[in-house]
């Protein structure tokens, strides 16, 4: 056993209102420079939809992630290997281009002031942020927000392949229309394919907290990471000639603040906390059968209360305060204890460390025979009446294993039934208790889930582990001396080479 700590994330999709505040917070801090305008380290997609970059989930097109060689029982990168990595240096066959994302633009506002007097109002023409030329805007990063242009966008969602033609039709029936939001950042995977693909070895996982970073001074712009990341969360800066990605706001984490997208989240859907996992089992677990991926990944995560785990963790250099932080982690509760949060597209086999509680189906009833039906029987949509087909969610969150989605939903529904019984009391108590028992929960667990879902404070949602930078600094110099030196940093500007 080789225990490592991982700052992990959980997004509760039922709470996401699709406001894009997270995206804007991130963009204002990290990607407002030339060359990064098109990058959204944090983006929010409407599902069903094609997302950003367009159809990123379609690995026949993008060749991201790992695939299992069934004969050798081993996983390999879908896009590259040691030989191809060198041979394809000069032109990568599967690299997405900026048109797969969108060409960034602004408006020529000076036209509003400089236009000669005339009969018409002057307009600010859109111009490309790359060439400065006039641009005919064709797409943007959230062009299909709220199902905008569904016949073109939503119906091309790669996940819809998992459901039947009939279900697909009903999904877009206007009376039953349903969608949900999917906020995405880098998953800071335990088995990152971007790291494995980098010829320069510039991408690495931090030992202390598992954050995946690109060393900008080592990156030589070979771009393999862009292709290899199945979530398309490594971006090529066309101006600086380097790859960039979400850094989980590590400068904020190291000073005890949650990442900007977490902190600014209006719906408070985001949770952050430490997980301990066994790094020796990464390869074994990433190579298991597709249907087992979710269960096995849960197995990878260790119980921070187990004395054996604690002893080994201390031996592996994990600080006692970090173990304590892992014991309080809300992510641990949602992922491991309650088994409510699931990894996005586990079939990419990168063992993503960002987990999602799938959206419970809409609470509202629906129009039937011209009247709006909502009685307490159907008020909490049951699994059988799921408006988003279970197959579709299974394609996204459990590599097609529908049982995992059903288990999760039984729990989510019984939490709601339990609270409904308590607060309103219009449900049959026996039936509710039966539902809770079938879901494998108890009344107490239901309450705990409810509290951490609906009433968490900032400290409940973000259990930020201490970074102990002082120990890293003390290896290099006296911490008191360092204190007087902070603020004197690197003087090299991140400028494009000649």
């Amino acid at each position: 056993m080789n225990i490592r700590a991982q700052v992990s994330m959980m997004f509760h999709l039922d709470k996401c209102i699709g406001c894009h505040t997270c995206s804007v917070a991130c963009k204002n801090i990290w990607t407002d420079r030339q060359g990064t305008e098109y990058m959204w380290w944090n983006n929010v997609e409407t599902k069903p939809g094609t997302g950003y970059p367009t159809k990123w989930e379609d690995q026949d097109k993008y060749k991201g992630g790992w695939k299992k060689d069934e004969e050798k029982e081993k996983i390999e990168l879908r896009s590259t290997n040691k030989v191809k990595g060198i041979a394809n240096l000069f032109h990568q066959p599967h690299l997405p281009t900026i048109d797969d994302y969108y060409e960034p633009w602004t408006y020529k506002y000076s036209d509003l002031f400089d236009a000669p007097a005339g009969d018409d109002q002057p307009t600010a023409k859109p111009i490309s942020l790359i060439t400065g030329d006039d641009i005919d805007i064709k797409a943007g990063p959230n062009w299909d927000d709220d199902l905008g242009g569904s016949p073109i966008y939503a119906s091309n969602d790669p996940n819809l392949g998992a459901i039947s033609e009939k279900d697909r039709e009903t999904l877009f029936e206007i009376d039953r229309l349903v969608f949900f939001y999917l906020p995405r950042i880098c998953n800071h995977c335990a088995n990152p394919s971007c790291v494995a693909s980098c010829p320069s070895g510039a991408i690495y996982k931090r030992g202390e907290d598992g954050i995946v970073l690109v060393n900008q001074n080592v990156c030589r712009g070979w771009r393999f990471c862009v292709t290899a990341c199945p979530y398309k969360k490594v971006y090529y800066n066309w101006k600086s000639g380097k790859s960039e990605k979400c850094i989980l706001c590590y400068p904020r984490l190291e000073t005890g603040q949650p990442p900007a997208c977490f902190h600014s989240c209006v719906g408070r859907i985001r949770y952050l906390g430490m997980l301990l996992y066994d790094a020796d089992r990464i390869e074994e677990i990433a190579s298991c059968d597709e249907s087992e991926l979710v269960e096995k990944q849960r197995e990878l995560i260790l119980d921070p209360f187990d004395p054996k785990v604690i002893a080994q963790a201390e031996k592996d250099g994990i600080h006692a305060s970090v173990i304590e932080s892992a014991q309080k982690s809300p992510v641990y509760k949602f992922v491991k204890e309650w088994k409510l949060a699931l990894p996005l597209h586990p079939e990419f086999r990168t063992l993503p460390m960002l987990f999602y509680v799938p959206p419970l189906l809409p609470v509202l009833g629906r129009v039937e025979n011209g009247t709006y039906e909502s009685n307490s029987d159907t008020f909490f949509t049951s699994l059988e009446q799921a408006r988003v087909p279970v197959e579709y969610l299974a394609k996204m969150f459990s590599a097609g294993n529908q049982e995992i989605i059903k288990d999760t939903y039984r729990k989510l529904i019984s939490v709601r039934l339990s609270k409904r019984l308590e607060e309103v009391g219009d449900l049959d108590e026996v039936k509710v208790e039966e539902a809770i028992a079938t879901a494998g929960l108890t009344k107490e667990t239901c309450d705990a889930i409810f509290r951490l879902t609906s009433l968490p404070t900032l400290e409940d949602r973000f259990v930020i582990p201490p970074s102990h930078r002082e120990y890293a600094i003390s290896m290099l110099e006296d911490t008191q001396q360092h204190k007087g030196e902070v603020g004197v940093g690197f003087s090299e500007k991140p400028e494009r080479g000649l």
């Binding site: 281009t97 494995a196 010829p199 931090r206 202390e208 000639g241 250099g317 400028e495």
Partner: protein
């Protein structure tokens, strides 16, 4: 000092010194600037027809030049039999055509694609032109002054060795045709451009990828360096 003396016994040292001094300085002072500066992300299709023939062509051609420099006697011995000479010259010339085809495609792409023009620096234009002159002069030499591989081994290789041994022997090159002289001078010019242009990316050929493990983990502090008893105490 005659112009021949300057161009063939002084200029090479100037260029080599510039390259040897400035390249490490750039590496240690402005390491961020080391990049392939790929523009494939902005334009994908034309790049294939330029970048792939160019890189594979020039790598093999430069490899041939290096071979002639290291084992000139063996090259001469190989060329002693006519069909072997034709094979060598034919291969070289085909690769040179592949190279110049790629280079022209790259120049055209840079000229006609607005997005690529947006990321083109003056130095990019300078090196494209210098490289074009270099490959063109090489092809000219191969076609009109036969047989290049033999006299490269017999005259140019000893000249280069005389440079490397700090005893430049310009008599080996001063009477060569103009195009050959251009080929030699432009080669040294390109050496001097190395640290000032994107050419530095060839120094980052990532061969270590072949033997490194797939995952890279970096610790801020070494594992076990700080024990919990230290922290509690």
């Amino acid at each position: 000092m005659t112009s021949n003396e300057f161009m063939f016994s002084v200029f090479p040292y100037v260029t080599i010194i510039i390259a040897l001094v400035v390249t490490p300085i750039r590496y240690f002072v402005k390491r961020f600037s080391y990049s392939s500066l790929s523009s494939q992300f902005l334009e994908n299709k034309q790049l294939f027809w330029g970048s792939v023939p160019w890189h594979y062509g020039i790598i093999l051609i430069l490899g041939g030049h290096l071979l002639g420099l290291i084992i000139p006697q063996s090259v001469l011995a190989w060329n002693g039999v006519p069909w072997r000479l034709y094979v060598l010259e034919g291969t070289g010339l085909s690769l040179a055509f592949l190279t110049i085809f790629g280079l022209i495609m790259l120049m055209v792409r840079r000229a006609v694609q607005p997005r690529i023009r947006a990321v083109t620096s003056v130095m990019d234009v300078v090196i494209l032109l210098a490289l074009f002159v270099q490959v063109f002069a090489g092809i000219w030499t191969a076609i009109f002054y036969r047989w290049g591989s033999s006299w490269y081994a017999a005259a140019a290789a000893p000249y280069l060795w005389s440079i490397f041994s700090f005893n430049p022997n310009i008599s080996l090159v001063e009477n060569l045709p103009l195009m050959v002289k251009i080929h030699i001078i432009d080669a040294f010019f390109l050496v001097s451009l190395l640290p000032f242009s994107r050419l530095v990316h060839f120094l980052s050929l990532p061969l270590q990828y072949i033997w490194r493990s797939p995952q890279v983990v970096v610790w801020n502090q070494s594992v076990g360096a700080v024990t919990n008893s230290q922290i509690k105490g």
